[in-house]
Symmetry: C2
Subunit: 366 residues, 2 copies
């Protein structure tokens, strides 16, 4: 029995150990769902792109990089406005080290990735301030459940990741709409979390949708349709389709608390099959509180890969220690799974060295 | 050790037994690739649709039926001009009996299925008489290999099926272009195989592409691009991506001989991992010769589900015994896999009874 000291346990107590035992040595499918939302273009909301307009390209570029080691729809790789590279770097190192199968799901992207991807018939998300954020949320959800059911038949468990700039803001609005105390608790890709700006955008969204906090606590898909984003409904659908058959790790930060809340409202019985896998940067973040969000839904396992780039050779990675990026493209979940699949043979230091090398490879290419 | 008496062995000798042992009791992913080609609209070429224009809907409708038990883009289910229902009936019964995971790949369809599907960035196939049948064949092939590699990591083996009306005509032209003696050997969804018509269409295609038999024997993807269809390049790519890791069953009739020829020209070392799975109606067909086609490529296992609808309660199924339909949507391969996955618990008579019931369900719905 391996202890997995490089996986931090943030919530779930003994349930976390049981969850880890249920997946150790097994092979998951790593499913990354992408989408875009116009919400990401509100200046100051997202650092997942070198400028707001660029956020349309980030999810597609992330997927191209994940599969091929280089992007096709852009030069280089996605970076923050300060040039810090995408967390897909971590994801790629992790999935390669442990030879994880990867599938890409498009929940609704303005720019399509030049990779094979699963189409759910979704549309790019609109600015939540319109109060009409996601078209055909019901049919996207239904197709996602069909897909989740079939992927569950093919695998030991599923890891559900995301790439959507602006996703913490849409997470905030959905969580408020279904009644969670989420103010000031969502994370950010920036060191200085723009909580005030997010809350102001969310208030405009709620006003446009004629919503008060908790109004949609029994109607989570309506919450997504009005003030959410296409990733939420896709990942929730995948989980609802799969979790009655196999364990499911929601691989992401506070966005996954919103997804968890949606799933919980649809089928509470699935909670026992779910866990959240993220990074140390998220669970140690003083400016957000993933555990407080999850706890409002249920005491499910929240685990974090104990990655630390403080001793990195590269300033672009050391920057993660000052709160840039933190999570995305399932970086934390992929790191956890690479440890679990190899029964602990992949350690944090081994993974960190691979990430260093991957960083050098992409920087030299630029 | 089960003998699988309901699986006919048509080619491969002892290799077939080895292949069966390598997959028995295992769980494959059943991957059905769909596309359309304008070639199917040549009057008299295809019976996979109640009229030529309708063939655009057949693949999408097949996939909707496979997932949901009813079509969404059409009323009822796809039928031949005489009202004989789609072989997806067989496929659905088989995948449900053995709980197979199903994924849909779109290689290039004019009508998109209302199900989750994997997009390879392909376009609907053009009439081969233009000599420019498949756009961006190289990039579709590359994406398919990426997908095949990832699906192989997630499963014990792959079953690669197809639904494309007109596919035996495009198979004929590709096989001639790469140098096989294929004249008069491809199958048909009609009892009277229109060999003369097919050959005349293929000759026009070869003329437009300035090709003589065998001209492209070293360039199979160019053969597809000029005189093939999008399914061929997609399924070949999936197989090339997967077959170095896991066994692959090409689930179809003479169309799969064309796919096999393409794979063989790209990487001969993969032949040891491949088999063809089809129906008795194909291998016993006096008007076509799958075995003679496959033998020109290699002595790989050719297996057939020994389905027989002669004693069916329904004329729409008994018609299969007079040579209508014969194969499609991986019907034969799905039947074989349902037997193999259950270590022989699913027998031909059990499967046939399920198909009877499925037939009654859809007829009563109409």
């Amino acid at each position: 029995m391996v202890d997995y000291p490089d996986i931090l346990r943030a919530l779930g107590g003994s349930r976390t150990e049981g969850f880890l035992r249920s997946v150790e040595g097994k092979t998951p499918i790593f499913v990354c769902t992408i989408a875009t939302t116009e919400t990401a273009k509100v200046p100051g909301i997202s650092a997942a792109g070198k400028n707001p307009e660029f956020t349309d390209y980030t999810p597609a570029a992330d997927m191209e990089y994940l599969y091929y080691g280089r992007c096709r729809c852009i030069d280089g790789v996605p970076v923050t406005p300060d040039g810090i590279p995408t967390p897909a770097l971590i994801t790629r190192a992790a999935v390669r080290l442990s030879d994880l199968p990867v599938l890409v799901v498009d929940g609704g992207s303005r720019i399509k990735p030049q990779v094979p991807f699963l189409d759910l018939g979704g549309q790019p998300g609109m600015d939540i301030r319109t109060g009409q954020a996601v078209r055909n949320a019901d049919s996207v959800f239904e197709r996602a459940t069909t897909l989740g059911r079939n992927l569950a038949k093919a695998s030991d468990y599923l890891v559900l990741a995301e790439s959507i700039p602006g996703g913490t803001t849409t997470a905030l609005s959905v969580m408020l709409a279904v009644g969670l105390d989420a103010e000031g608790k969502v994370s950010s890709s920036m060191p200085d979390n723009p909580h005030k700006l997010k809350l102001s955008v969310v208030r405009q969204a709620m006003d446009s949708a004629h919503l008060h906090k908790g109004d949609l606590k029994g109607r989570p898909l309506e919450a997504v349709a009005k003030v959410g984003d296409p990733v939420q409904v896709s990942v929730a659908g995948l989980a609802v389709g799969a979790a009655s058959e196999v364990p499911v790790i929601l691989a992401g930060g506070t966005q996954m608390a919103a997804v968890l809340a949606i799933i919980n409202k649809i089928d509470q019985s699935l909670m026992d099959s779910l866990a959240i896998g993220t990074t140390r940067w998220v669970i140690r973040d003083p400016q957000s509180n993933l555990v407080a969000l999850v706890r409002q839904v249920g005491d499910i396992p929240v685990m974090a890969a104990d990655l630390n780039f403080g001793a990195s050779r590269h300033s672009g990675l050391r920057a993660y220690e000052s709160g840039v990026v933190k999570e995305g493209v399932g970086a934390g979940g992929a790191a956890i799974c690479s440890m679990m699949k190899t029964n602990g043979k992949v350690t944090k230091s081994f993974l960190q060295e691979q990430i260093e090398q991957e960083y050098e490879r992409i920087v030299n290419r630029r």
